[in-house]
Symmetry: C2
Subunit: 149 residues, 2 copies
DNA sequence: CAGAATCCGCATGGATACTG
DNA sequence: CAGTATCCATGCGGATTCTG
């Protein structure tokens, strides 16, 4: 598990890899710097499974195996990793019931619910425009095939 | 030559057809199926570089090397791949000026601009809550360290 | 049931060299 | 300048096994 080096918000510090000398000021603080905290958070949100998990958790409380069954294609390992990351970020609350067999339940925190609103709009956009995207892809593929021929 | 349309190497190729129309617009139908088109699009949008590129392109028209310089940490290869994907999806328009040396400019399409609105809100959320997330992480790490000890 | 731990295949993506 | 092509290291993530 990677140790996220955390600095105060706004302070940029290189996590891993070479630092190199930066120096110029960036008009848009959030974007370019890969050591920028906002980018780290975006990377977390914009990962393969997080969006799915958050969207599901918004509906109700889920048990681990329920999520596993519901999310098609996720491995047990990745579900665990994803849930831990979201829990660490304060987006998901994990509740262990001391019973046998174990019963662990997951739900969104208040913070997680605010994020869900945004995610919801992203999903909505995708739903609304999937036709246009499919058309654009088909168009692109045809044109590229023509060039290649 | 790698193609972006690669599915995850899982076994779940239920309906490998392009599924042009699922018919239903159920708000909560998008999630589970990994063959769902919405999920494929989300995977594209939610990748490491796409968000960054789209956000930059909304500002103005950019040349290739400008983007390369601006996006810290991206390799020339990944910038090319990302731009091609976005172009294929109809989100980015690529204009080649037949001059020497070559001049290629990138900008958002109308479709891309509609997505930018959503992305902008995602970035805003991140900016707004990065403090809370940092605190949650610190809290989590402390507690985990305590357990481990 | 929920997960931790382990092994490891292979896609992801960086570095380099070459081209129009 | 704006790519393409190639090689190759890294690590993501799947499969499996073991535990409380």
């Amino acid at each position: 598990m990677e140790e996220g080096t955390l600095k105060s918000p706004g302070h940029c510090e290189v996590t891993t890899g070479q630092a190199d000398e930066y120096g110029d000021t960036d008009p848009y603080q959030w974007d370019a710097r890969e050591d920028c905290e906002v980018r780290q958070i975006l990377d977390r949100v914009a990962d393969k499974w997080s969006l799915l998990v958050i969207a599901l958790l918004d509906r109700r409380v889920w048990r681990f195996s329920e999520l596993r069954r519901e999310i098609d294609g996720i491995s047990q390992r990745m579900l665990t990793v994803t849930l831990r990351q979201l829990e660490r970020d304060g987006l998901v609350k994990r509740t262990v019931h001391p019973v046998v067999p174990p019963r662990v339940e997951y739900e969104l925190t208040a913070l997680g619910r605010t994020l869900h609103t945004t995610i919801r709009s992203l999903v909505s956009w995708t739903e609304h425009h999937q036709g246009e995207i499919a058309a654009a892809r088909a168009d692109y593929d045809v044109r590229e095939a023509a060039v290649r021929a």
